[in-house]
């Protein structure tokens, strides 16, 4: 049986890297006594896969992993059992059954939501952020410099920004997030600093991923959670 678990990673847990987060959950699942399936062989490992790695330094209220179990109790009981095993900053939000032929979360991720705030003293000064940000997003093209290990290149990221707005001094973004087309929120904001004639300072942003989506039809997004059903 395939299960999709949604969880939050908050506070100082932002310093826990992706692989260590996986290890953390492998152990939490054992502590919670979840009847997870194991691979065969001398070093059996749990059948578990994460939807999308979250960078170190980012918090999230919309992380996902898929697991396979032999048996299960109700969604509510399983969420409670897992939460009894969580450390401060980690919280399991939902535990849902997905169809047996349902695709793995990691293969269907298409978009993600982010809430971004500026650290104190690092916000772009002297401007109306909301108005300027709207102007920035409505440009015909948004050219930013993308740095890779080997080179720098200019790219237009406009197509990857599905939505964007300013809510209470925070910036909301819905960005392309598939493996083929993945846009980092920092890149969008550093482009904004350039747009207003500045340069993004180091450690300027606090970023929280708030949801991860699959695509259903052209630019129609459905959260990974909504692809599963509560187990009564």
């Amino acid at each position: 049986m395939k299960i999709r678990i949604k969880f939050a990673k908050l506070g100082y847990m932002k310093f826990i890297g992706h692989l260590d987060t996986m290890r953390y959950f492998q152990k939490a699942i054992r502590r919670a006594g979840i009847d997870i399936m194991y691979s065969e062989g001398f070093n059996p490992h749990q059948k578990m896969s994460f939807a999308a790695p979250l960078g170190v330094g980012l918090t999230s209220t919309g992380e996902y992993m898929d697991i396979e179990v032999n048996t299960t109790k109700s969604s509510k009981e399983m969420v409670d059992r897992l939460n009894e095993q969580m450390v401060e900053g980690m919280k399991v939000i939902s535990y849902r059954k997905i169809p047996d032929d349902g695709k793995k979360a990691m293969s269907i991720v298409a978009a993600a939501d982010y809430m971004i705030s500026f650290r104190e003293g690092k916000e772009p000064g002297g401007i109306n952020i909301a108005a300027k940000f709207e102007e920035y997003l409505s440009s015909d093209s948004i050219i930013v410099t993308k740095k890779t290990k080997k080179s720098e290149k200019e790219v237009d990221i406009k197509a990857g920004i599905f939505e964007g707005s300013v809510i209470d001094d925070k910036i909301f973004l819905k960005l392309a997030s598939s493996s083929a087309d993945y846009l980092k929120p920092e890149l969008v904001i550093s482009g904004f600093y350039n747009f207003i004639g500045g340069k993004m300072p180091e450690f300027a942003l606090e970023i929280e991923r708030t949801e991860v989506y699959a695509e259903q039809g052209e630019k129609e997004f459905i959260s990974l959670e909504d692809l599963g059903d509560e187990i009564p």
Binding site: Y12, R23, Y24, A28, Q85
Partner: protein, 628 residues
């Protein structure tokens, strides 16, 4: 939520910030204001190493059972953070409360290997605690050292307020009670040290005076106050056989800490016994942890179950100096396999003798294709194995290898030492010849039954005489002698028929010399440790950061004669720097064993025959088996 000592800007610009933030599963949370005593427990190496240490997990659990104590952890900041903390004047902090170590009542530092001594000074320095105990005031924590290197504390005597000799379970509650009493009655730091000095196992360097003869050896070593005894007696738990978790001294953490980052020991560690019956003459642990005391097998089963459940670890490992000597091993291992194997739990069994039982067990729990067999003959000839009292014979090794090869294994690791007292060229060549014989055993198996080629890896470390071993008087080799011996082995290896199946490597000789100096050093060596730290030595246990030239400089700057500490054979009646400690094993026994070594005589193990080492006076363990 706790506030972290380091801001995001620092945590996001250093390697592995998880080392410094705490919040691990099973971390103990208390309000520091609600306790009387704050104890910072330190392993002076990086987090992943320190978190793998069982002793600290036991004491962390034991101390925190008390409502009046909050025991927290601290490790050496890695070099990247070390630099930032010095630049920005950030004081060293504990993992739990993230508060400065300087605010604690105690800083306890475990001394597991000599090459961590520079890191001890780093810990003090970054904490803002004066490096010299004599310069500390009422405002500073009491700095206390323990662990195996405390059995020769002298090279660190200047830096510690006190040392504790032995197993922490025995006296720490007393030390904590005394501290609380002293604090409540308005006593000073000195008042406390005076009271602590009479607690068995406690050594307070400031209360002892040393005088030296003209030749640099010790003339006298005496207590200078009536509060401190002339002999400090090692403390240990005599009875470990109880099944009752609440029984006195039967401490063991049911909920060990589970780090986020992968620690060196990323598994449940089950300590099955303490001590070793074997009596290998080079092995300090085998002498100072005497007598052997076994834990009750039913208690261990319960512990294994609880710890796996409370940690979620995927692996459990048995811990002891020689697991094969645990009398209930078969029952325990079969229980672990039946109960947990097949439920995604790996079982690892280090320090097992290779015989049909262990091979059978290993074939059940390991992938034979991926695992290798380990033998530790330590010496290349039977003559030299008799000198070190290593019971392993060539016949046993070859029989074990043959059994294993027939069972499908084809990888073998062999561990040796070079520079053992009395070693001659034949003994050295014997290392290569023994490897060759192991390879030949493999090729005696019919081709169709073999699993490809045999791979033999032989490693040599360099022998370092340690305090409280029969070799404590022995001469240690120079760097040139070590390397010449490795060359003799290597040349002989190249002459072997199956040389292509054998890989030979040997340790760095430089680091062995410094370890040798620190292992048998006296108080005069403390200034060398200090100088080395001032010159920038740090993380000397890590080959990438060990800088021999800095140590050489420190040795020169402090007028230390390496020959005096390294190559000089000590006179049998010389007062050794650690002679004021009573570890149970008597000086008479060690002398006898030193003679036996020179005469190539084997001493039977504790279960075969008691050799009267002196440990029986602790009143427990193997010395009293079958004597009820």
């Amino acid at each position: 939520m706790r506030k972290l000592a380091l801001p995001d800007e620092i945590l996001l610009s250093i390697d592995k910030p998880e080392r410094y933030i705490g919040n691990e599963v099973n971390m103990v949370r208390k309000n520091p204001e609600d306790v009387d005593i704050r104890f910072a427990m330190c392993f002076p190496d990086v987090y992943e190493i320190g978190m793998s240490h069982l002793g600290i997990q036991i004491l962390y659990d034991m101390f925190n059972r008390r409502d009046d104590v909050y025991c927290e952890r601290v490790y050496s900041p890695w070099m990247d953070l070390d630099k930032v903390m010095r630049e920005k004047n950030i004081p060293l902090f504990s993992i739990e409360s993230q508060e400065p170590i300087k605010n604690f009542d105690f800083l306890g530092i475990t001394l597991q290997y000599e090459m961590c001594y520079a890191n001890v000074l780093q810990i003090l320095d970054l904490s803002g605690i004066p490096l010299l105990a004599s310069e500390r005031t009422q405002e500073d924590p009491i700095v206390i050292g323990g662990g195996p290197c405390a059995y020769n504390p002298e090279p660190l005597a200047d830096f510690f307020d006190m040392f504790y000799m032995g197993e922490g379970e025995k006296q720490y509650y007393t030390l904590l009670d005394l501290y609380k009493e002293n604090k409540a009655s308005g006593g000073t730091r000195l008042d406390y040290l005076k009271k602590a000095a009479s607690v068995p196992g406690v050594y307070i360097p400031a209360f002892y005076d040393v005088t030296y003869k003209e030749d640099g050896t010790i003339e006298s070593f005496k207590s200078n106050t009536k509060d401190a005894p002339d002999k400090v007696v090692k403390q240990l738990i005599t009875d470990m056989s109880s099944t009752d978790p609440e029984a006195e001294y039967n401490y063991y953490p049911r909920k060990p800490l589970v780090p986020f980052i992968k620690a060196t020991q990323d598994r449940v560690v089950l300590e099955i016994q303490r001590g070793c019956i074997r009596g290998c003459r080079f092995c300090q642990a085998g002498m100072v942890y005497r007598p052997v005391r076994e834990r009750n097998v039913e208690y261990l089963k319960k512990l294994a179950y609880d710890m796996l459940k409370n940690t979620g670890h995927e692996e459990i490992s048995l811990s002891s100096l020689s697991s094969s000597d645990y009398s209930q091993l078969e029952e325990l291992v079969n229980y672990l396999i039946d109960e947990f194997h097949g439920k995604g739990v790996n079982i690892s069994l280090p320090s097992l003798r290779i015989d049909s039982f262990s091979l059978d067990v290993m074939s059940k729990v390991q992938d034979i294709k991926k695992s290798s067999l380990t033998f530790a003959p330590e010496a290349g000839s039977q003559r030299l194995r008799n000198v070190i009292n290593k019971g392993l014979t060539e016949e046993v090794i070859l029989k074990g290898a043959s059994l294993a090869f027939k069972g499908g294994w084809n990888r073998v690791k062999l561990y040796f030492m070079l520079g053992i007292p009395t070693e001659n060229e034949e003994d050295m060549k014997g290392i290569a010849e023994l490897c060759e014989k192991v390879a030949e055993v493999y090729y005696e198996i019919p081709k169709q039954e073999r699993n490809g080629k045999v791979q033999i890896t032989a490693s040599s470390s360099f022998f370092i005489p340690k305090p409280f071993t029969p070799f404590q008087w022995a001469s240690m080799c120079t760097k040139e002698q070590f390397l010449d011996r490795a060359k003799i082995v290597n040349t002989r290896m190249k002459e072997m028929l199956n040389k292509k199946s054998i890989k030979y490597n040997w340790h760095e000789a430089d680091v062995s010399l410094i370890e040798g100096l620190l292992a048998r050093g006296d108080r005069k060596v403390a200034k060398t440790v200090l100088r080395a730290y001032e010159l920038g030595c740090l993380y000397d246990a890590w080959s990438d950061s060990f800088d021999f030239s800095k140590w050489q400089q420190a040795i020169e700057d402090t007028d230390i004669d390496m020959d005096f500490y390294i190559t000089r054979e000590r006179d049998i009646d010389e007062i050794l720097p650690w002679d004021f400690i009573d570890v149970g094993v008597s000086r008479e026994f060690l002398k006898r064993e030193w003679e036996n070594a020179k005469n190539e005589l084997v001493t039977p193990n504790c279960r075969m025959k008691c050799s009267g080492c002196g440990a029986a006076r602790f009143g427990g363990g193997v010395c009293f088996e079958n004597k009820n």
